[in-house]
């Protein structure tokens, strides 16, 4: 259906227009789309009010953001030259490659949004999988989310809203009234979709007012509320509203009647309310709920479960990400370099570099006093640093790894976890069973999360060892990219019987597993293969060798022993 495909497009355009009307109140828009004609067309449709958006990249330095001394210009001019930061005046910002936004930048931008120093932020997020997304700190502070994946450029139509419409709406905006009922309705709707944050209803309210202003209404009506709820709530929903309509919906009106002042404010509406049974009160709420539901992503259940599951995938990497840093660790000799705010200047080395040239430079510029230092003299300090460890547990959750072994593996993971907690290691958990491997827990330091995921680990099915190894290698590679040093603990009984997709048969399963083991070896990370089968098997020893990992047979392990053995194997 063309209608479905363009739905995201239309709502996205509408969101953009609303944002142009009330940039400060709505925060911004999180656009998830790969770079391409669709995204370009979407951004072409940005209203003029937001066209002036300053583009910033994720590697922007503090000096560029907040302003500061322009070192190179200062040295050349001989007087202090200050540069103005992007945040010096409230302008709309556009952050490209937002999925790679480091937590530090996210925090600064969030702070700017909170303080009203940035007017509307457009996040261009090119993340390709669920884990790869713009930081939650930022998306939480933006009203809208638009996902353009799967759209084709030919389907798209232009939304016609002239700059005058926007300007008019902006003028009308301060006078738009919101009835108290409508406000309560927004809050109740958010709660019924399991949206905890109170920013959501505020955004919905602002969106409804902006929409009313655009449609030239003086008060927020049902249609405004409906559209606002769709735009703001659909991507934040964490659960579907309960379906037991009658019990559920009798409750809110009951509460309403308890609060006396609110009833007093609108006595005229009391009568139809009572006459029409629950109808008068619940109808708009129903409409809102239905409206939001209509816009929920199609594979709602998986999306919802992933949302709760992956809720902190990004943030958790926080402290580990900047570990390639040049600001601490073991000092290395300083090098000539540029002062870009991320490196520290080595004053002594800089002066030493400048010293021999003083006579010559003085002759060139006789009117300048003091030391004559050129940008090329600047040396920056360098440090070498150990990065954080990440332990990846790849657990065989197949039927053959009997349930008892599963319990042992869980126990061992918990013990190692407690140890990792005290050592500040990160932990990730991959489980493979049936046809595929799942990243149950993205790298995190959070015990709370790990515990929860671990206890919900399902079991049964075949042993897709190859897929498990593949997922492990994938995660390890990503972790290295984030500056972590991963190590792998693979727990399996070695009976690989499910090959990678596209092949069949037990033999293929074994071959695939060995191939993936070789891939892992190329990453050159320490690891241990824990044999959980009742009798140790030679195949696994071979596999461990291929992986370049240590082989730990544990025919009769308890959690303690398992934990000790793995700890010893991967710590060197």
């Amino acid at each position: 259906m063309m209608h479905d495909a363009t739905e995201a497009w239309v709502t996205g355009q509408l969101a953009l227009n609303l944002l142009a009307v009330d940039p400060a109140g709505l925060g911004g828009l999180h656009l998830r789309a790969r770079s391409g004609p669709v995204r370009r067309a979407f951004l072409d449709g940005v209203p003029d009010a937001l066209k002036s958006a300053r583009k910033i990249a994720t590697n922007i330095q503090d000096v560029q953001l907040f302003g500061g001394i322009d070192i190179a210009a200062t040295l050349n001019a001989g007087t202090v030259v200050m540069s103005r930061g992007v945040l010096a005046e409230p302008v709309p910002l556009m952050l490209t490659m937002a999925e790679r936004c480091p937590p530090g930048l996210a925090a600064r931008l969030a702070q700017a949004l909170d303080a009203g120093r940035s007017q509307a932020l457009l996040l261009l997020d090119e993340g390709c999988d669920e884990e790869e997304s713009a930081p939650k700190t930022l998306t939480e502070r933006l009203a809208f989310h638009v996902d353009l994946d799967g759209l084709r450029a030919v389907d798209l139509t232009e939304m016609a809203l002239g700059p005058d419409d926007i300007a008019d709406a902006r003028r009308r905006l301060p006078d738009i009234a919101v009835s108290d009922d409508m406000l309560a309705l927004m809050v109740v709707t958010a709660a019924r979709f399991g949206i905890d944050s109170l920013r959501a209803p505020l955004f919905a309210l602002a969106a409804a007012r902006a929409h009313a202003a655009l449609s030239n209404r003086s008060e927020v009506g049902e249609e405004d509320a409906q559209i606002a709820a769709q735009l703001v709530y659909a991507h934040r929903a964490t659960m579907l509203p309960q379906e037991e309509e009658h019990e559920e919906q009798d409750a809110p009106p009951d509460q309403d009647e308890d609060s006396a002042p609110r009833e007093d404010e609108r006595p005229d509406q009391d009568d139809p309310d009572e006459d029409g049974d629950t109808g008068g009160q619940t109808l708009p709420q129903d409409m809102l709920i239905e409206a939001v539901k209509a816009l929920l992503p199609p594979e709602i259940l998986s999306a919802l479960s992933q949302k709760t599951a992956g809720s902190s995938a990004k943030g958790s990497g926080g402290a580990g990400q900047r570990r390639k840093g040049n600001r601490r660790g073991r000092p290395l000799p300083s090098r000539p370099g540029k002062l870009d705010g991320s490196a520290r200047i080595d004053i002594v080395a800089t002066l030493r570099a400048a010293a021999p040239w003083q006579m010559i430079r003085r002759a060139q510029t006789p009117d300048r006093t003091g030391l004559l230092i050129r940008p090329s003299d600047i040396h920056v300090k360098r440090y070498q640093e150990m990065s954080d460890r990440l332990i990846i547990f790849a657990v065989d959750a197949s039927g053959s790894s009997a349930m008892a072994r599963m319990a042992e593996a869980k126990g061992a993971v918990e013990l190692l976890l407690a140890e990792a907690y005290s050592r500040r290691d990160h932990v990730a958990l991959i489980a493979f069973r049936g046809q595929q491997a799942d990243l149950i827990l993205p790298p995190t330091r959070s015990l709370v999360q790990t515990k929860r995921r671990l206890s919900g680990l399902p079991g049964g099915g075949g042993t897709p060892l190859a897929a498990g190894l593949q997922a492990t290698a994938e995660l390890a590679r990503r972790a290295i990219g984030m500056g972590l040093s991963p190590s792998v603990a693979l727990m399996t009984d070695g009976r690989a019987n499910v090959p990678l997709p596209g092949r069949t048969g037990r033999a293929a399963a074994g071959e695939d597993a060995e191939q993936m083991a070789a891939v892992l070896r190329k990453l050159n990370i320490p690891g241990a293969v824990v044999d959980t089968s009742v009798r140790p098997r030679p195949e696994l020893r071979v596999l461990a060798e291929r992986m370049g990992a240590r082989y730990v047979p544990l025919p009769r392990a308890d959690a303690q022993g398992l934990s000790r053995a793995i700890g010893a194997a991967i710590s060197d």
């Binding site: 406000l183 905890d196 109170l198 402290a319 995190t444």
Partner: protein, 334 residues
């Protein structure tokens, strides 16, 4: 800069508000840790508190908010000594702030253009006599955290680097907030915070509606909203000032000390910091409530926030530690 939301208009979150007010009464309690979900008004409360607190008198132009010319550090340029009032400083420490920005560093600008060795104060200097707010404190890089702890404990920032040897006062109340789902705080750091509170999104619909209603009113017409709530804020401010004045006179009986010790032993908290903080917080509570003596009621009120983060933590324990504290309090005081 936008006007902050008035403190008295914040709906619910009583524990968090109480903890912040107590540190305003006695900054020596040593910091508040607020852990909880996003969008629960953590940042709002901190910024509101700054606006609520009485202004401080500082030497004009002082980079460390010195209270008198004598307090002005010797490395700073001499000042004429005019005094003026500034709002209580609340300094944000963003994630990823470099060590230079936090503690201060050699003033590169002056070093390079004028060839002078001068010190450029960092965030710690600006936070002196005020608050230092760290959002997402659990994601802060470890070396910055260590450094902060050290300064917060000693009240003095010592810089020994790049040929500088400098110290200045840095007495501030550390306010940290974060979401435990994104990573834990090291136990060493937990213990250094005086108080800790957990905040949750309100589940009561009426309360949520009220939050939104007030916020919407504030956003549409900030001035009218502020006019409405300023008298309320003034009442709290007066209470804080009165409590500060009466704090030294609050009596502590031997029985109270005994109660403190017994409570901490029963809970098995490490070290003596638990007792000290509990007592100090209870005294501040008594002063805030206008009482002249610390009673068990005060201790009961502050025990969860003063002790819940000091329990020897079973990393795999899921029950909230606040409830554990309350249970023990009831047992001990029975």
């Amino acid at each position: 800069m936008r006007q902050p939301f008035p403190f008295s208009a914040i709906v619910g979150q009583e524990a968090m508000k109480q903890a912040m007010l107590l540190t305003a009464v006695d900054p020596g309690i040593g910091g508040v840790l607020v852990f909880g979900d996003r969008g629960t008004g953590k940042s709002t409360a901190v910024r509101a508190l700054a606006a609520l607190l009485p202004p401080i008198t500082v030497v004009a132009g002082s980079s460390t908010n010195a209270a008198s010319v004598a307090d002005q550090p010797d490395w700073a340029d001499p000042l004429p000594g005019d005094m003026h009032e500034i709002p209580t400083p609340v300094i944000d420490l963003p994630l990823g702030a470099s060590e230079d920005r936090v503690v201060g560093a050699l003033d590169i600008e002056r070093a390079l253009t004028r060839g002078e060795k001068a010190f450029e104060p960092g965030l710690l200097a600006r936070a002196n006599r005020g608050y230092l707010y760290i959002d997402e404190v659990n994601l802060l890089e470890d070396h910055i955290v260590d450094l902060l702890l050290d300064v917060a404990q000693s009240g003095e920032n010592v810089i020994e680097r790049e040929g500088l040897s400098i110290r200045h006062d840095a007495r501030f109340v550390l306010v940290g907030s974060g979401n435990p789902e994104e990573g834990e705080l090291r136990p060493q750091l937990l213990d250094r915070f005086g108080l800790s509170v957990e905040v949750r999104s309100p589940t009561d619909i009426q309360e949520r509606v009220e939050v939104i209603r007030r916020r919407a009113a504030f956003d549409t017409n900030p001035q009218a909203f502020l006019d409405k709530w300023n008298p309320e804020d003034a009442i709290i401010r007066d209470r804080i000032l009165a409590a500060r004045a009466s704090l030294p006179g609050v009596e502590t009986t031997d029985r109270t000390l005994h109660d403190c010790a017994e409570l901490c032993v029963a809970l098995g908290s490490d070290g003596l910091r638990g007792e000290l903080t509990l007592l100090r917080t209870a005294r501040a509570m008594a002063a805030y409530q206008g009482d002249s003596e610390v009673t068990r009621a005060h201790m009961r009120a502050v025990a969860p926030m003063a002790l819940s983060h000091r329990l020897r933590r079973d990393p795999l324990d899921e029950a909230g530690s606040s409830t554990r504290v309350m249970r023990t309090v009831e047992d001990v005081f029975a």
